[in-house]
Symmetry: D2
Subunit: 280 residues, 4 copies
């Protein structure tokens, strides 16, 4: 598994270049970012060089398509998607992520039908570039009733949705926080095949009752109560070899210096990977 970072949890980084350099400095192997700015400034080759010089791979891009609102907005995103996928593909990226809110103000069945069609188109386009689409189920209880109707929030429901989307390059984004807030165990991970997981997020939860855990109340790996050693062991046991990217969503952005947050992140990874018996 590759240790990765997202921008969530690293504070006010100055630039993508700095992000990549600091990720390398603190022992990470992957970053999740939108490479568009880098490519505009450095070109594809320059960006590739930057990544290679730092020993960093591009873990995942976010889906630049709005599939939750109107057809107009959806279509506007498709132009962006082909451009981004073309760039990401040349940079060696093979994963593109989007998340699923667990409730909705739309008629949920109709929204599911519309979203199925739209995400299939996204998956097809991404597939042309050998990129997989990762669907992130979102577990925190407060979001399940935040909007009028229930949508979906479990990995089992998301696997069923993948079967409805019916494209070969769609899989799960498995986030430790959503695993935890769904009340799942290592055995739930062990029942999956590695190829069903496209990307992984890691983070920790405070010591409050699980149904009170807030989506933007996350803490650094090893600083909370989630059994992250078990989480990583489960993923390792089924043969998952992709990126495990830290994503610390918080109500306000941390004000600590970036290097300090990087160090904290590294310490967290060392602790939980160590506890899992997966390297120093």
């Amino acid at each position: 598994m590759l240790r990765g970072l997202t921008y969530a949890g690293v504070g006010a980084v100055e630039s993508d270049e700095q992000f990549i350099q600091l990720a390398a400095k603190y022992g990470f192997q992957a970053v999740d970012l939108d490479p568009s700015n880098l490519v505009e400034r450095l070109g594809l080759e320059g960006t590739n060089e930057l990544l290679q010089q730092n020993g960093i791979v591009l873990g995942a891009i976010g889906l630049p398509v709005e599939w939750r609102t109107t057809d107009e907005e959806f279509r506007a995103g498709l132009v962006k998607l082909t451009k981004l996928a073309a760039a990401a593909s040349v940079l060696g990226c093979t994963a593109c992520c989007t998340y699923i809110l667990p409730s909705t103000d739309h008629n949920p069945a109709h929204f599911m039908a519309v979203a199925t069609r739209r995400l299939r188109i996204c998956a097809q386009v991404l597939g042309a570039y050998n990129i997989r689409l990762a669907l992130e189920f979102v577990g925190p209880h407060h979001l399940r009733s935040r909007w009028k109707h229930p949508f979906i929030w479990t990995p089992a429901q998301t696997l069923d949705w993948m079967a409805a989307i019916a494209e070969r390059n769609v899989g799960l984004l498995y986030d430790a926080y959503h695993w935890y807030t769904n009340g799942l165990t290592i055995s739930d991970i062990r029942q999956l095949r590695a190829d069903q997981i496209v990307h992984v997020h890691i983070n920790d939860a405070p010591a409050v009752p699980v149904h009170e855990v807030l989506d933007n109340g996350r803490v650094y790996p090893g600083e909370g109560v989630i059994d992250l050693a078990g989480f990583l062991q489960g993923l390792h046991s089924i043969g998952y070899e992709g990126v495990v990217a830290q994503e610390i969503l918080t109500a306000t952005q941390p004000t600590d210096a970036t290097e300090s947050l990087m160090q904290r992140s590294r310490a967290g990874f060392d602790k939980v990977f160590g506890a899992a018996g997966l390297g120093t």
Copy 2:
């Protein structure tokens, strides 16, 4: 358009043979029935002869697959489906119908995902036999809140579902009752293409407020308040040439003699087709 009958509205018919003969006698051109019993008794050839001798075509079969409950029940239906489709295909039938309840006790988004996968499989199997799958949206207001969560009930939602199912041989079952209870007009029909409609049901509604109309409170064509002449004109204007089958769902089965109900049905068809300028 072919004038057709279903068993709903013709009382206690003794046998499929009698149904076919009476349909012919009263000027109908199609019947909707499950041909399995006929085929068992008469063979495929004998059944074909019976139909041809009476100038009757097999309008539509019902989908013999339970796609609303467990995977086990769904799978059990697939064996039946291949057998039925094989027989129906030889008998010249090209339509297979199922209806969509407008509310559900399941998580509606998850149920939509599961049902999308299941109906796609049914459509694929039917497609192998050149049979199209007709999805019937169901409009009556009381059913929209009969179960815990809303599902879908409009033709627009059903077209979006068809796009999610993404099989070329799936279309609408357009029922006059559901058109009426959705508050739709001729112009809504005119916006469709004929190939989006696989099958049509005709029936009438009593003179009560539209939101009080009960699904099993239907009356014979021309005996109620639905603008069936407009309904038929709309279908004709877009080039629909398939079956228009009477379906009179009632709380209790009519006790009138079958021939009397046949005569009443014929009179209803004559009245509304006549008003639409579509033949005697």
Copy 3:
């Protein structure tokens, strides 16, 4: 049916604007062109105004994706496709065309598999913009053995390919020349449904044996030996209401003045539509 023009057969037109104006002047209702240049100069609104002021619709765009060579070239086309589809969609265009060469130097089975995947992706993207993909079978005998292995060239084969592509928005481009060189009759057209045809090309063939007819040896409608009246009657009888666009592929571009070629085109349309009983 709408009378349409392509650039093939109208000589050295100066600009898209002139093409649209002359099409209108000579009684045509549609033009097939790539709107990109117009949109760049006039904007989407300005282009729409130009079309509307001339009473001209955008009949079809060509598929800007190379699906016959490498994955790299294919991918490069996808970015173009989303941009073009977005523009064409706003301009009211609902058809996008590509043609199928009847022989190939590739392993034909493998090429069919690869092309199936690629055209499905194109169809999905076009579908997001409510545009249909038209596949043009190509009949002339000399092309069937021009490259090493046979590919496909009949409408029946193309319909089977459409079933393999399995997208709802894919249909035939039915070209009179390819109908003729396939040795087909009106009854072959009558067996189709209108929704299986996305676009139509019209042109005529010289009086040489059918197996000697050259793909770029076409003449103007009514100046050759194809039964174009029958062709149009067949299309009309099944309810085809789309564009019938002239496409005169010749070995060298005609040197006559554009207005003279426009007049000749108009005369040809008048003759064959008249003979078909479809207006002056």
Copy 4:
């Protein structure tokens, strides 16, 4: 990996029961057979008991659908398929195999289109029963020109076909003989993901030039020239954990006693698995 047997190579076994018992006696863990006869005699429960008492799993069934000829024959197979899949699924079988002849008398491109549609339907039906469809590429050179036109015979071509079929439950049947006759190496296997392989056949080739190797000229594992240790190491290294089933196709059925052939098979497996470092 599970050591498995097919009927090809075990001589004149008396019954499925005997096959299962002898497979167990000689240290095998899986058999490939059509369970229909067993189920008819013993019922599903009885068959399951027989398998469990002998510690044998049902490795794979053959696809009972003729997808290479007419639509009529294809359809007839679909009824069989649902029944067989229903039984196999209850017996724990998750793989269904079919092979691809490397040349054809059909127009190869058209045949590829038709076969794509048909195998997609088969895959959908199998998917309803959680069974995967394994496509076996066939390498021997003599078969590549046995019929008029080339079809496909490499794993790369077959992966492209899988992308055209576009169902999530379709993968490769990887046969050592076809790997060898395609001139492939361990590194070709290492470039695959385990989930792309549904089933594996093992067998050996005589010491003749590779382009002279006959499809029905196979010898027992370890008795020929194929690097089966490398083959197994490659599969092991990518995480393949499924069945490796012996399939010895020969011009005439071996006349040795079944127990003697079982012993020979076992010795062959011991030799090549041992050489691969994969157990005794």
